[in-house]
Symmetry: D2
Subunit: 132 residues, 4 copies
C-alpha cells in the first residue's frame, strides 16, 4: 500500500481566531483527518481498527506554522506514514493551500497502540502488513 | 437540593472568532459546564452518573445571543434545572459578564436518559430524588 | 438564486465525545458550513460579505437532535434560506446520514447584520437581491 | 517578574473523545490559557498586548502526552517563559493532575511578534522588560 495519502479540507469559520487566521489547534485536527483518509485509502478505516478494540492515541505531536491559513481557504493535507513499528507509529504531514500551492505547515505525530482499557499493546498485524 | 447553580468561566482565545467575539458554539459548551457544576453541587457528579451506565444526551438545544462575549471576559453561567421528569430533563441558562452584570445570552437544553448502547431509559431515581 | 444548498461533511474524530457520538456543539458548526456553501453557490461567498465590512452574527440558534452522528459518518447538510429581511436573516437546516438517508438533526439560526464595530446595519442589498 | 505561572483548568465534557480521554488538541488550548494567566500575573494582560496592535502567533508547538486527562479532572497548568528574545518568545508547559500530582503532559510553544497586518515586528519593549 502507498504510505502516502492526500485529503482536502476547507477552513471553517469556527476554526479562525481574532487574528483572522486558523487557530493553531486546528492543524492537529487536520492532521487527524489526514490519518483517517490514509488508513481508509489502505483499506482499513480507523473506525474498524477501533472496532477491533485497538486504539492509537497520540503520544507526541508537533507542528511548525509557516504561513497562516484563512477562513474558506481550501487546504491540501499530505500525510505520510513515516514508520510503523512494533509498538509505535509515526506520521508526518504537510499542509498546502490549494490555490497557490504555498506550504502553510508541516508536522508530525507519534502514536502508541493500546487496548480498550488503555493498556499498551503491539501494533495490530493487519495494520503493519498494510504498510509493508 | 437547590435547583440552581452558578459557575464562572473565562473566555478563551480559542473560543473567539474573527469578529472578535466568542463563537456561538461556545455557549453550548459553557451551558454544559453549568450542568456539570449543578450536578456536582447536588452531590452527584455527572461522571458518576455515567459510571452507572446512564448518559444524558442533549436532544434539543437553543441559545439566544443578546450581547457578545469577548476574549478574557469573565462570565457567570447560571444554570437552572427547570424540570426533571420520568424520561426527560430540561435545563435553562443565563450567561452574564461578571464585570458589569450584563446579560449576554440565555438558553435551554433538553436531555433524554439512555443506556450505554443508546437505548432510552427512565431517568435514574438518584437523579430525580436529588431535585425533589 | 436557489434558496437551498447542500454540502457534505464527514464526522471528525475530534467531534465525537465519550458517548461515541458527535458532540451537540458540532451541529452548529456544520450548520455554519451549510451557510457558507449556500452563499458560495449564490455567487457571493461569505468571505466577500465580510470583506465589505458586513458581518452576520448569530442571534439565535436551535437544534433538535433526532439520531446520533458517529465518527466517520458522511453527512449531508441541507440549508435553506427561510427569510432574508431588512435587518434579519433566517436559515433552517436538515442533517442526514448519506449512507441510509436517515434524518439526524434539524435546526435553525437567525442572524443580524452588523458593521465592523458591531453596530446594527440593514442587510446589504447585494445579499437581499441574491435571494429574490 | 516571575517567569512562571500556574493556572487550573477542569477537563470539559466537550474536550474528551471516544477513547474517554481528553483529545490531544485540548492541551494546546490549555497551554494558551497558561500563557494568558502568566501575562496577566505579570501585569500585562494579553488582551492589552493585542490592543496595542501586537500579536504573538504560534510558529511552533509541541506536546508530549504522558498520561491521559479525563472528563472532570482538575488540572494544573505550569507555564514558564523560557526565553523572550528580540523577535521570538518561547514558553514551556507542564500539565499535572491536581488530585495526585501526576504529570500528564509537557510541551512548548514558540511565538513571533507581528503587527495587525501580519508583518513581523520586534517583541514589544513592555513585554521584554516585564520578564527581565
Amino acid at each position: 500500500m502507498a504510505r502516502e495519502g492526500t485529503t482536502q479540507v476547507r477552513v471553517r469559520y469556527s476554526e479562525v481566531d481574532r487574528m483572522g487566521v486558523a487557530h493553531h489547534r486546528s492543524h492537529f485536527v487536520w492532521f487527524e483527518m489526514g490519518r483517517t483518509e490514509l488508513l481508509r485509502g489502505g483499506g482499513l478505516p480507523y473506525a474498524e481498527v477501533e472496532a477491533r478494540g485497538i486504539f492509537l492515541p497520540v503520544i507526541e505531536a508537533r507542528c511548525i506554522y509557516r504561513a497562516p491559513a484563512r477562513y474558506d481557504d481550501l487546504l491540501i493535507v499530505r500525510t505520510t506514514l513515516a514508520e510503523m513499528g512494533a509498538v509505535r507509529a509515526h506520521f508526518s504531514y504537510r499542509i498546502e493551500r490549494e490555490s497557490d500551492g504555498r506550504l502553510l505547515a508541516t508536522g508530525s505525530t507519534t502514536h502508541a497502540a493500546v487496548g480498550a482499557g488503555g493498556r499498551p499493546q503491539r501494533m495490530p498485524e493487519a495494520l503493519r502488513r498494510l504498510f509493508d
